[in-house]
Chain length 287, copies 2
């Protein structure tokens, strides 16, 4: 019986190694930039996306080593979006994972550049998996994916609630990269077309479940558990699932999406157990 | 006898088509983001980097169509760096190519995101040329390339002149992407290893010549010719070739690097004439 905490710890350890191997040392010029990149990357996150790359690769019968570049690629991509989202011109956050955000610990110019260089490094790592992995990551993270979702998210602040726009934001800002993480794992694991399709469906539903759970935690969790200020989304007038549909409906929809994710794994049989456990964890987590 | 103006016009026309085909329409959601991306990209620049991709591909005997994705990739990459460099936290520029900079025409958050998405789109386009093209572009444009050069450039402002640091900034901030453009053209044109090496050497020298000429123009050109405020580098205490070595030495070194670039083309014989003409143009241009 797999345990999510064990799986995440194992994947995080592999992710740290994969990231460290692909980031220049802090001593490399320009040292300030490389310190900022490593400060942002090595901040003790959950490493959910690398875990998905790893477990999707394993589900297809791939070796862990084949997925290493993918673990680094999705985490560097995700980290760059956090660094830029935290900037004063965007969400203007001072705390991330219980520490000063990158632009607070360094300065705004360095944070912009560290984010830029982390995106570049993400694509450099994805290229190790081949051109198709790069194309998948680019589609998920560009103006029709993560970046587009952040633009919609900013534009929606303080506007009337809109269920259709909310879903678009969730699909792009969060689900797109979580889905791409599963697809990169599929590519690393030499998946069959059916396996790849199933993992993409799993990732899409899991991504929605994850973001809805995030919206719930913003209302219910403590600052200590979150490592950031709870209630901030509501205070900023952010469009969240809880704001649009209420807390009970959010919990129900999160659980439903997690089940949809698990249902997508049927063709993997017992090899899908780890990914299924991760879906359970995503909606039941406390931080 | 090739003429640089004709070559650049021809390459620019192909670049516009290649870019337009790879950027979502302005009407696509989020419309504000796509308008900002297109505003930044379609601003009438020289399109030097796409021209280098095209002419390097041709020099190796490749067809123009094979290079199209490379034209778009290097120009989107270059444009994203301009959008971010112009931000208030960085060089704080209001004018670019005679028009308001992206964050002036839109807003800061949109400019950050438009830059981010242009970088993503650049790697999506590079992936059309294969994983090696992505790796070349990533190495040239990350923390050890363009982004690292910009960090050094910012950190050097107002500091004592330093010839070694100046050369490092020029190699990373400018020459790296110009060299990568030539290498992408080589990849698109299925270059032999010798051809690829020669084109990389050409690009490195051309990039240095180009940046030195830029430093000279900041001192000698008019605002109307530049489309931006001349004398700004000097006013900001930027480390430039002119500031370190003086105007006469800058002109001499620019001409020397242009000749080195031309010398690197010897194995192409007559097929190197267009690239050679571009090297002449780069140091003799007036804007």
């Amino acid at each position: 019986m797999p345990d999510a905490a064990v799986l995440l710890t194992e994947a995080a350890a592999q992710a740290e190694l994969a990231l460290d191997a692909r980031l220049p040392p802090e001593s490399a010029d320009p040292a300030r930039l490389h310190r900022a990149m490593r400060y942002a990357v090595f901040a003790g996150g959950k490493r959910l996306r690398p875990a998905l790359v790893l477990l999707a690769c394993r589900a297809c019968g791939g070796r862990d080593a084949a997925a290493a570049a993918g673990l680094a690629a999705v985490e560097m991509l995700h980290t760059y979006t956090l660094v830029h989202d935290d900037l004063p011109a965007m969400d203007d956050d001072d705390l991330r994972r219980g520490r000063p955000t990158c632009h607070k610990a360094f300065d705004e110019a360095t944070a912009i550049l560290a984010g830029d260089a982390l995106q570049t490094a993400a694509f450099g790592a994805a290229a190790e998996l081949g051109a198709e992995a790069v194309a998948v990551l680019a589609l998920a993270s560009g103006s029709l994916g993560v970046v587009g979702g952040q633009q919609d998210d900013l534009d929606a602040e303080g506007k009337p609630v809109d269920a259709a726009l909310l879903e678009r934001i969730h699909r792009r800002k969060t689900a797109a990269l979580i889905r791409a993480s599963c697809e990169l794992g599929a590519i690393a694991g030499a998946a069959t077309p059916e396996q790849r399709k199933a993992l993409a469906a799993y990732g899409e539903a899991l991504g929605l479940a994850f973001q809805i759970a995030d919206d719930v935690l913003d209302v219910t969790a403590t600052a200590a558990a979150l490592g950031k200020t709870p209630g901030k989304d509501a205070a900023q007038g952010k469009l969240t699932y809880v704001a649009v549909h209420g807390l009970d409906a959010a919990r129900a929809e999160g659980a439903r999406q997690a089940r949809l994710a698990q249902d997508a794994l049927v063709l993997f049989g017992a090899h899908g157990a780890d990914l299924s456990e991760l879906a359970r964890f995503v909606v039941e987590r406390r931080s």
